[in-house]
Amino acid sequence: MSETVCRRGVPLMGTLVTIDVVGNVVGHGLSQGPAQLEAAVERAFGWFRQIEECCSRFEPRSELVRLSAHVGVPVPASAILYEAVQFALTVAEETGGAFDPTVGSAMEMRGFNRDYRSGRPVHSAPEHGGAATYRDVRLDPHRKNITLLRPLLLDLGAVAKGLAIDMAAHELRPFENFAINAGGDIYVSGHNPQGGPWSVGIRHPRVPDALCDSLLVSDRAVCTSGDYERRCPAETGPDAETDGHHILDLRAARSVSSARSGCSAHAAASVTVIAPTAMLADALSTAAFVLGPAEGIALLERLGVDGVIISPTLERHATRGMRSDYEPSGSTILPDAEGPASDCPGGSDRPGRAN
């Protein structure tokens, strides 16, 4: 029997970040002492601050915003920014642009331009920044330079929090059993206080405070993207399902509008991805959300990670390994989709709605 020896929560990155470390008091399960644990937890929180300071598009002095001021010239980047951008661009290539880190300008145009700390509107996007794609960003792996080929504003919101979780997990690795929860993006390691795998619930996309699934996970990150978070003030519809939200599908907008201001993806209600790293799970949950059940599940299967996609009609699409590896029998309350995922309503064939 173990017990939680450390539980701390700090508001960071616009959410509450909590860290739980589990040890075995009787058997001295912690490989290091309380002082080392306290220092490691402090460093773990420090990574969230550092990465937010570097990658925030709401902070005018952040490295990310300063990068957008230099177009056409190589800009030396810190390790945090370079690695985050490199990973985001790689995911963009893997997903054919469904995931696109150059979405910053479109996000600003749609009203996601308020600093969550001060509530004040910020304007960081360059003029005509909405026409760029991820192909307009070049990386120099030798000099660690980033070059923007045209005016654009990067948005690393879909990878930065995951990266921070991974860095925090790296700091806590000597303690073996811990859980990091950053507003629903979770990494769990080892066992829980009861000695078993950690139980991670998936929020019901339409019923607040209700879970639609429960997973048993260990040494994995679980990240969820849902249309119920961060509603868009610039795009509202007659019902909740068509209201705008923070996950944009730039591909659909590209085919409809030359302005490329983006439109909210409506192919899914929520996507949960289980992956070895939080940055990967975070990015792929966003990408699969844009792609929808058919292409999304295919993407996750191709990349060898597991996930669950809840369609707008509340049908459940899961990868093959979900139930056998993570789900205790009967843990989900939503019906599985019948037949191939492409047949379900709200699939990826559903056209995106232009702004």
């Binding site: 690695e83 790296h170 990670v305």
Partner: protein
């Protein structure tokens, strides 16, 4: 494997049949029969081989039934893991300029060694012998735990320290209260390069931040009558524990200087602490110049 065995069988048959024919002194008709048989064996071998190759091309790996950890293998996993290690190796972004400050720091250390101590006056008496008005909130229990040379009076005011060094005393007078309060959170205002050895120090409590590739250290000093009566680590943000340099604050007080001993295996943390103390003292000097 099956293809290889078939090829071996065919080759062996083709080699044995002519030898058998030669040994039995066959005539032409029998040689024709023998060669025909060898050709048939070769044809059968080629047919079997082609079937094997075709079936191999059409082979689909069955779904892996092993645990989830065996299913995950792609370059994105590798890339994200490498990113963590790369960032961890590079240290905090904020401290990337630490290497650039190395030459400046070395020069400053040399200057500090040759310069007189901060104040020519003799070291102040230990706080235990000081008037209580100068060291309010002193805790006898904590004072008893201090090392003999530790001149810092104890206080419970500093809750952010990592238990290293000793807690800072309250400012010596009400006039300094406002100044001390002003210093809270101003650790980033001055850098170590602003420090001028020998310059006059203003009484009060000051903090300064020093950087290293492994993270920052926020040092705190308390000045009374122009002397450093306390030095400590207010915040240890390095990825390594600051316990290895916990004796350095005492040296700052004893020597009235930032010129502390280098700690083997913790040279970066030592330098970060020195920079933090220097930045705090620079703040004190700036306040003194302003008045």
């Amino acid at each position: 494997m099956k293809l290889l065995q078939t090829a071996k069988t065919c080759a062996l048959s083709l080699a044995i049949l002519p030898l058998a024919g030669a040994a039995l002194d066959f005539d032409l008709s029998r040689w024709i029969v023998l060669i025909s048989a060898a050709a048939m064996v070769l044809a059968i071998g080629i047919f079997v081989g082609l079937q094997t190759i075709r079936s191999r091309r059409e082979y689909h790996p069955p779904p892996v039934e092993a645990g989830a950890g065996d299913r995950v293998s792609n370059r994105l996993v590798v890339l994200s893991s490498v990113a963590v290690l790369a960032i961890y190796s590079a240290g905090y972004f904020r401290t990337r300029s630490a290497a650039d400050q190395l030459a400046e720091r070395v020069a400053r250390q040399v200057a500090a060694r040759t310069a007189p101590v901060i104040a020519p006056a003799p070291l102040p008496a230990p706080p235990a012998a000081s008037p209580s008005s100068q060291v309010p909130q002193t805790s006898p229990r904590l004072r008893k735990k201090n090392a003999p040379g530790d001149t810092a009076p104890a206080s419970t005011a500093d809750s952010s320290s990592y238990g290293l060094g000793t807690p800072a005393p309250a400012p010596p007078s009400a006039a300094n209260d406002s100044a001390a309060n002003d210093e809270q959170g101003s650790a980033n205002s001055f850098s170590a390069s602003d420090y001028r050895p020998g310059a006059r120090l203003k009484d009060g409590r000051y903090q300064g931040r020093g950087s290293s590739p492994h993270g920052d250290i926020v040092a705190e000093v308390v000045i009374q009558k122009g002397q450093i009566v306390y030095a400590g680590i207010a915040d240890c943000l390095t990825r390594y524990s600051c316990s290895v340099i916990k004796h350095l604050p005492q040296q700052v007080v004893e020597r009235q200087s930032i010129d502390v001993d280098l700690v083997s295996g913790a040279s970066e943390s030592t330098s970060a602490f020195q920079d933090g103390v220097a930045a705090a003292l620079a703040r004190s000097q700036a306040v003194s110049r302003a008045q």
